[in-house]
């Protein structure tokens, strides 16, 4: 990177970036589900307090968090999930050196910190680990989190510095892919993003492109208003597609991600109760169904953590039932749902992503209940309580499995069947009949290297219509074979 033309007046002979083009991108990021951007601070009433802006009450989304999320997405897009870093990646090119590389280049992309445009609405989420053997809460496994409500908006700003030596189209392509991930809502931020938190989307972009070799545009860059947040009223028109705005085409680059997306719509058969644990105000019942803000309105939800817990437990049961006595198939479950080994201090995150589901068309009803004294058969003193589950309603469960293997798809199909038939209840008080579901329709889609395979299951007049029974059956057989140890793959 030394300069080519040296004159007597030249005082600088240092290695200098010759920046010939600057691209500035602005967008507005909107959270689609609750998001936990933790500060990592230990002195707080909750286990994970939110990161706040240093001088106001607004939430802070750091540039490093945005860049980290974009970098991961870009690598997944180019190489499939779980790929290690390589020095010739698009991601390395755009986001700078690999972590283990001591003398790599700095990132040509500048990602700004984003401060939420308003003081955000906060929600308190708590959860507890259920012991799969006893079915009750594990000791010391209760936690609570502060989360930003869906609908919080963050103004984003990026600046891409392009060197004379840099591969311009490659950098722009990388940026376009990464930002398209935000546009399509495929990038998640913050904690527990594999359990439905942190979904976000950018719907509009504003792009400035300064060719600095042209003095007029160079002057425009010097005068550019970089200090005002959000969209500017100035020249570039807001565009809904980042590809159009950056004038990039992605025809040569193929999405390498290998994933299975399962969307299933269920009706709630009776009632559902996910205890919210929030301190209720005024004369609320003792126990209330969990609700979360969507478009400024409180809606009942089925959190990803609950659903994933239920699925994991049932998956364990299926595998343990099928496995021959003496055999162990635990690796299948931990491989799919993630695991933490406290002793070896290793962990692996889940490959199964479970979204939080909004529940529509429900009714709130308060039920009064009382314990019966077993001895007298009368009402127990002091045991009257009331609760407010939701009755009726329906929701769409959306889960995604990254790098699925055939037997894992088989296991998911068995889980789907159990949910569908009401055999696998979700939420609390399942022993008194709450949380049973009735399947309506399901769509399973396998995307791999730009190829798409789709299957559907529908319930029409009490009859199941399956698009390709045999194909689905082979997945389940693959599971049986795998567990029996006949076919390791």
């Amino acid at each position: 990177m030394t300069q080519t033309e040296l004159s007597s007046s030249q005082r600088i002979k240092r290695n200098q970036r010759e920046i010939i083009r600057r691209v500035i991108v602005r967008g507005c990021l909107r959270l689609e589900s609750p998001t936990c951007l933790g500060s990592g601070d230990a002195d707080s009433p909750t286990d994970m307090p939110l990161l706040r802006d240093s001088i106001s009450q607004r939430a802070l989304l750091t540039g490093s968090a945005i860049a980290g999320a974009l970098r991961n997405y870009l690598r997944d897009y180019e190489h499939d999930y779980g790929a290690g870093e390589a020095s010739d990646d698009l991601a390395t090119e755009l986001f700078g050196a690999m972590r283990r590389d001591d003398d790599g280049d700095q990132s040509p992309l500048i990602a700004y910190d984003a401060v939420s445009s308003t003081v955000p609405t906060l929600e308190l989420r708590d959860g507890v680990k259920i012991d799969s053997k006893t079915g009750t809460a594990s000791n010391k496994a209760k936690y609570d989190l502060e989360v930003l409500a869906a609908g919080t908006e963050f103004p984003l700003q990026f600046e891409l510095l392009i060197n004379r030596q840099a591969d311009q189209p490659k950098l722009l392509q990388g940026l376009a892919i990464a930002l398209q991930g935000l546009e399509n809502g495929e990038i998640t931020l913050g904690m527990k993003k594999r359990r439905g938190f942190g979904r976000c989307q950018v719907s509009q972009w504003q792009v400035w492109d300064f060719d600095l070799t042209d003095p007029v545009q160079s002057r425009q860059w010097v005068e550019y208003d970089h200090w005002t947040e959000g969209f500017l009223p100035e020249p570039p028109v807001k565009q809904s597609s980042i590809l159009d705005a950056l004038k990039v085409s992605l025809d040569e680059l193929q999405d390498q991600r290998d994933r299975l997306i399962l969307q299933a719509t269920f009706a709630i058969n009776g009632s559902l109760l996910i205890r919210s644990g929030q301190a209720s105000i005024g004369r609320a019942p003792d126990v209330v169904q969990l609700k979360s803000y969507r478009n400024g309105e409180l809606k009942p939800v089925l959190p990803g953590t609950s659903l994933a817990g239920v699925l994991r437990h049932r998956a364990e049961r299926i595998v343990n039932t099928l496995v021959d006595s003496g055999g162990s198939a635990n690796s299948l479950i931990s491989d799919l749902f993630g695991n933490v080994n406290e002793r070896a201090k290793t962990a692996k995150s889940s490959r199964l992503i479970v979204q939080e589901a909004e529940i529509n068309n429900t009714h709130d009803l308060v039920q009064n209940r009382i314990a019966i004294d077993r001895f007298t058969g009368g009402a127990l003193q002091g045991a009257l309580f009331d609760e407010q589950p939701i009755f009726g309603g329906e929701f769409t469960m959306c889960i995604e499995l990254r790098q699925p293997k055939n037997y894992e798809i088989g296991l998911l199909l068995l889980l789907l069947k159990d949910l569908w038939t009401g055999d696998l209840p979700v939420g609390g008080e399942s022993s008194i009949g709450r949380g049973r579901l009735q399947g309506r329709s399901a769509k399973i889609c396998h995307c791999h290297q730009g190829q798409k395979q789709e299957w559907t299951i529908d319930q029409v007049d009490h009859k199941l219509q399956v698009s390709d029974t045999e194909a689905l059956e082979t997945f389940v057989s693959a599971l049986l074979d795998n567990i029996a140890g006949r076919n390791a793959a």
Binding site: R11, E18, I19, S54, A111, D113, P215
Partner: protein, 217 residues
């Protein structure tokens, strides 16, 4: 000896790194004086201004490039140690207001305040980890913390000259101040986003026209 000032307004939290940390608390401390006031070293600031000038001069067409390179050479100096190569400008540290610092220094001398109280009131601590792409969990050994100076503060640096600077030199400085937008550690990741203003007497008003005037060779 004419003096000019450069105001640096922090638009985001900033780390004026100093290359060390505090064992058990933070990995990256900010540069601060004996009273706990963070500041940006003049040496660093001069480097930043000079870099921004070089970046812009590079993109200029032929003749102008040579002209402005000469001006930058006079202004910031040339490598090597002799009187001729010395820069015309002297860049001071960018600090918080002098009267505030003196008032606090007095309070500290009376033991009403301590240095760490001052530092804590002007800074906060940010923590971050890296996620391992292969396992999806935090990378081992990646948790780190850095102190950041609160955004919204304005630091002022004195820029002095031994002789009256030429209009060209002032013009270049004003351009550099306009172009200086990121400084400190983590400046590519949101920290250290700043807006600078150059103040002083008899500044050329048409500095942009002057710098970008297209003169074909």
């Amino acid at each position: 000896m004419p003096t000019y000032t450069l105001n640096i307004h922090l638009l985001s939290d900033t780390t004026f790194g100093r290359g060390d940390g505090v064992a058990g608390l933070i990995d990256q401390e900010v540069e601060h004086d004996p009273y706990g006031f963070p500041y940006l070293r003049g040496r660093t600031l001069k480097g930043l201004l000079s870099e921004e000038c070089d970046n812009l001069i590079h993109t200029l067409p032929g003749n102008q490039k040579i002209h402005w390179q000469e001006v930058a050479g006079e202004l910031f100096g040339k490598p090597g140690s002799s009187l001729d190569t010395m820069g015309a400008i002297h860049v001071g540290d960018a600090c918080l207001p002098e009267d505030l610092r003196q008032a606090v220094a007095y309070q500290i001398s009376r033991e009403k305040l301590t240095r760490s109280e001052i530092l804590d009131s002007l800074t906060t601590i940010r923590r971050q980890t890296a996620i391992n792409p292969e396992t999806g969990v935090p990378d081992k050994g990646s948790l780190r913390s850095a102190r950041v100076v609160l955004r919204g503060l304005t630091f002022t640096a004195g820029l002095s000259f031994e002789q009256q600077p030429t209009d060209d030199q002032l013009c270049l400085l004003m351009i550099a101040a306009k172009a200086l937008r990121y400084l400190g550690s983590g400046r590519n990741r949101g920290r250290g986003h700043v807006r600078c203003h150059f103040h002083g007497e008899s500044l050329p008003s048409n500095y942009l026209d002057r710098f970008f005037a297209v003169q074909e060779a």
